[in-house]
């Protein structure tokens, strides 16, 4: 039977180094994508992912009965992303390309044959949506990303963000209100 995250971390603590690799394999995708959606550029997101996992397995983690491992992992990831964003901004920013332009969105030469295609349209749409989410105020962005892309329930989001349940409700609501404006054109075309 597959071991749970908590069991793996205990196994690691009692001297089974390979457990680390298993945990990493299990959660690398979600943590990387969480960082990517928050920070908006690939290089920083990869860097932060690396930092997060290193912290976890430097024996800093003490299991706490009432909180799931993944919740804790997201909370750590969230803090790491926040410091990364802050450190970027501290440098006065103009040395760094803004989100996306280094690797997040690949520079591509458009093939004329492909121009009118549906493929291009949905690419364009994905770009706009990414942009709109990135431009949300940071707390709203965090809450909304956790909800929409990671399907976390409100209680867990409250734990990850360290705020009250009501606060989560408001953050998600405000974020949606903004996106409803910035993505109005795309939303119109969706069918339920």
């Amino acid at each position: 039977m597959e071991r749970t995250d908590e069991e793996l971390i205990r196994a690691y603590a009692s001297g089974e180094p390979d457990a680390v690799g298993l945990l990493f394999a299990r959660h690398k995708g979600s943590i990387f994508n969480f960082a990517l959606r928050l920070i908006g550029n690939r290089a920083d997101a990869e860097d932060v992912t690396s930092d997060i996992f290193l912290q976890l397995f430097n024996r800093r983690y003490q299991p706490i009965p009432q909180v799931k491992f993944t919740t804790w992992l997201f909370a750590v990831a969230r803090n790491a992303c926040l410091s990364r964003i802050r450190s970027r901004n501290m440098l006065g920013s103009f040395w760094f390309k803004r989100d996306g332009e280094d690797g997040f969105e690949e520079q591509e030469v458009v093939d004329p044959a492909e121009n009118q295609g549906e493929a291009l349209r949905s690419k364009e749409k994905a770009k706009m949506v990414k942009r709109a989410v990135l431009d949300l105020p940071h707390p709203q962005k965090e809450a909304l990303i956790l909800r929409e892309y990671f399907s976390k329930d409100y209680a867990e989001i409250a734990v990850i963000l360290g705020c009250s349940l009501d606060n989560v409700k408001v953050l998600i609501f405000r974020g949606r209100e903004r996106l409803r404006i910035s993505l109005a054109a795309w939303m119109k075309e969706e069918t339920l």
């Binding site: 003490q62 410091s83 994905a126 989560v168 939303m187 339920l192």
Partner: protein, 727 residues
């Protein structure tokens, strides 16, 4: 449906309500169609959001992480626990020391770098007067105030303007113009106000690592408490990302003393691109970059009611003097030219080469599709004796239509319809081919013209602007004129296009809408296409006994050396059929000492006041379109012409200039204000058949919400100007 209901429904969609609230939400949904629509909206939003798919960690990064993990975990094996603890303690101490050091270090550096960027520690942008209020009321959302974060990619305008601007001064002009300078986004108040919060980028990699260790420990220590953490402060401040539009940098004209510089010389300019570009920005609720605001192009966007020229001269010259509306002690001088309107039958045949950029960057709706419509409207105006050829360029340049008579409109229109965008841009090759084509179908005595339509982003081939302009200057000698139609946003290269048009005996327009295309290519086609005079230069000589100092409004890129006025080899602006050109001067009468003037008065060569009543003389030189020798017109202006306040068209031009100075945050704007602009424009609107003036008034109202007004740098105390002038 109120905010609370919406909130309730938003949480209901996610199944996050308590049983009682859920019942309430269900009632709302059952009873109120608006609520049901809102419920659907939220689900649609989820679908929209889902288009952004998860990405994969790149294999390289993954391998690196696994290697690091492996190294760390073997190093941190339980057996070595004691050693590890000792090492840890040492590391932490080092890290703490380094952190303090690094903090100090970075503060020192930031003092220079952030003077204009904002206080990084409080993370609030400096409350400079130019900082934009982001709580903008959107016209389409009357009543509710939104925090407005533009999501367009082209939003340089809303970045803290002063920081971008001034930074460009000391960063490096090339860094700025190549778009490397990015956002000054600031994440707000420190959320985790813990010891590791001040992690500093200046820390070395090693130290950083150590700080991370410390950070992780602290995280763990804090972990138990983090359920009870205080809520997130909800106020986060953002600045907005920059873009890659490029505008030529220029300094505003300053006041010059008449003693030192009695002559003011400039070339005429009939371009209007700056105005339509400004309009694009304002309709997107953005403030344009200062360098994109050129007063002369704004003033000349409007046509003014000057008398038609008489006695076979190509121009009439009109001059007015009035009290300057934004500095009551000063005077405002208007010089207006109007070009002759030739009879339609006498218009020379046109040989037009449309040179159209069809590169990938042109596929947006406001680029190629707009141009196609514009060209089609224009082609419908053509006469049988006119000829059109079409050259397109993308990765390569090619001719898609050989020279075709205006009689065969169908062929031209279908060629335009077939244009599609795709590929990279080799503008240079296209321009060469276009001039070659123009040469091949040259009409002697006709109007030979290349019409270049582009967003200006030449990214393949010789894109060196210098080489291109050299080539265009060469072609100018052969009698081919150039018209440039600029389109698009986000990547718009205003500086290149303006400079190309200058060099190519050309004019330059910015098309932001089908309406603008109609203005340039249909209503004003005559003046767009038919040049009635070229190398039109104006020189004004001021009488030092009547004018102490003067300032030319706009025309910064057109100012010429005084000796160039009589030098026919020097290129200057072209004037089209029926075109009007307006220039404004702000004059300081003698005895008024409110303007800082840079040079001391001359001790020895005092000009004796003569021609007491004459304030100034306007001299104008022009060449016939095919001539090489210039002709001179002079016109003295006396004091008797003084109006109290500008009226009619003059008031309109003054208001446009005043508006330009406000948007530009001009140092010389004195008491200019949006309220005054609105007042003046509303009374000077006149018979506004085209609706252009009303549109301007709307723009002023938009800008008033976006641009905070500062008092100008020059302060005025009251005083009666009339006395000084002996009235």
């Amino acid at each position: 449906m109120n905010e609370h209901d919406k909130l309730l429904i938003s949480a209901y969609v996610d199944g996050a309500l308590s049983p009682e609230d859920a019942v309430r939400a269900k009632q709302l949904l059952a009873g109120n169609p608006a609520c049901r629509a809102y419920y659907d909206d939220i689900r649609k939003l989820s679908i929209s959001l889902s288009v952004v798919k998860d990405e994969q960690l790149s294999p390289d990064a993954e391998i690196q992480i696994i290697q690091r993990l492996h190294k760390e975990t073997t190093y941190m094996k339980p057996k070595t626990w004691k050693t590890a603890a000792t090492v840890c303690v040492i590391l932490i101490i080092t890290a703490l020391a380094l952190q303090t050091y690094a903090k100090r270090g970075i503060q020192g550096r930031l003092k220079q770098a952030t003077n204009d960027i904002g206080d990084q520690y409080s993370a609030k942008p400096k409350s400079d007067g130019r900082l934009r209020d982001r709580n903008v009321k959107r016209p389409d959302n009357t009543g509710s105030t939104l925090q407005y974060d533009a999501y367009y990619t082209n939003t340089s305008v809303l970045t803290d303007k002063s920081s971008t601007r001034r930074a460009s001064g000391y960063v490096d002009a090339t860094v700025y113009s190549s778009g490397l300078m990015r956002d000054t986004r600031v994440i707000g108040t420190d959320v985790n106000n813990d010891s590791w919060g001040g992690e500093s980028p200046a820390v070395t990699q090693k130290a950083k690592h150590e700080i991370n260790d410390q950070y992780a420990m602290a995280s763990a220590a804090n972990y138990k408490g983090f359920l009870n953490k205080s809520p997130i402060p909800d106020q986060y401040q953002y600045n907005i990302p920059s873009n890659t539009e490029e505008y030529p940098f220029f300094n505003e004209n300053e006041f010059l003393t008449t003693d030192q510089n009695p002559l003011s010389t400039f070339s005429t300019d009939v371009d209007t691109a700056s105005y339509s570009n400004l309009r694009r920005y304002l309709t997107q609720n953005q403030v344009p970059p200062q360098d994109a605001v050129r007063l002369e192009e704004m003033i000349n966007y409007f046509s003014y009611n000057y008398p038609n020229p008489k006695n076979g001269e190509p121009f009439s010259i009109t001059t007015d003097l009035a009290v300057c509306p934004w500095a009551k002690k000063h005077l405002l001088l208007r010089i207006g030219l109007k070009g002759r309107v030739p009879d339609e039958e006498k218009l020379p045949a046109s040989n037009l080469v449309f040179l159209i950029d069809v590169s990938g960057s042109m596929q947006d709706n406001n680029k190629l599709p707009l141009l196609k419509e514009g060209f089609k409207m224009m082609v419908r105006q053509l006469r049988p004796e006119d000829r059109v050829s079409i050259v397109v360029y993308a990765g390569y340049a090619g001719k898609v239509l050989d020279t075709t008579s205006g009689y065969d409109k169908e062929a031209i229109l279908s060629a335009i319809d077939n244009l599609q965008a795709g590929g990279s841009t080799a503008g240079n090759e296209g321009i060469q081919l276009a001039y070659r084509t123009a040469r091949e179908s040259f009409i002697r005595g006709g109007n030979n013209r290349v019409i270049l339509a582009t967003d200006g982003d030449f990214n393949v081939g010789i894109s060196d602007i210098g080489l291109l302009t050299n080539m265009i200057e060469e072609k100018r000698q052969e009698g081919v004129f150039l018209t440039i139609l600029g389109v698009g946003n986000g990547n718009y290269k205003d500086d290149r296009l303006q400079s190309l048009a200058d060099k190519g005996n050309g004019n330059y327009f910015y098309l932001d809408s089908i309406r603008e295309a109609q203005k340039v290519l249909v209503h004003e086609l005559g003046s767009t296409l038919f040049t009635i005079a070229k190398d039109v230069k104006i020189q004004v000589e001021f009488n030092p006994s009547q004018v102490k100092a003067y300032r030319l409004l706009g025309y910064e890129k057109r100012v010429m050396a005084k000796q160039d006025f009589n030098n026919d080899a020097k290129d200057a602006g072209e004037i089209g059929a029926g075109h009007t050109v307006t220039a404004l001067y702000e004059l300081v009468p003698p005895g008024v000492n409110d303007v800082p003037v840079s040079v001391d008065e001359l001790k020895y060569s005092r000009t004796q006041p003569s021609f007491g009543e004459e304030v100034l003389t306007v001299k104008l030189r022009y060449k016939e379109p095919d001539g090489n020798v210039s002709k001179l017109i002079t016109k003295p202006v006396g004091k008797g012409w003084l109006q109290m306040e500008p009226s009619g068209d003059f008031a309109w031009a003054a208001a446009v200039a005043e508006f330009g100075m406000l948007v530009k945050d001009s140092a010389s704007r004195s008491k200019a204000s949006f309220d005054h602009v609105l007042k003046a424009t509303k009374s000077a609107k006149g018979d506004d058949r085209s609706g252009q003036r009303q549109e301007f008034i709307d723009m002023v109202e938009t800008a008033q919400n976006l641009v905070p007004e500062n008092s100008g740098q020059i302060n005025f105390k009251g005083g009666n100007q009339d006395e000084r002038w002996g009235y």
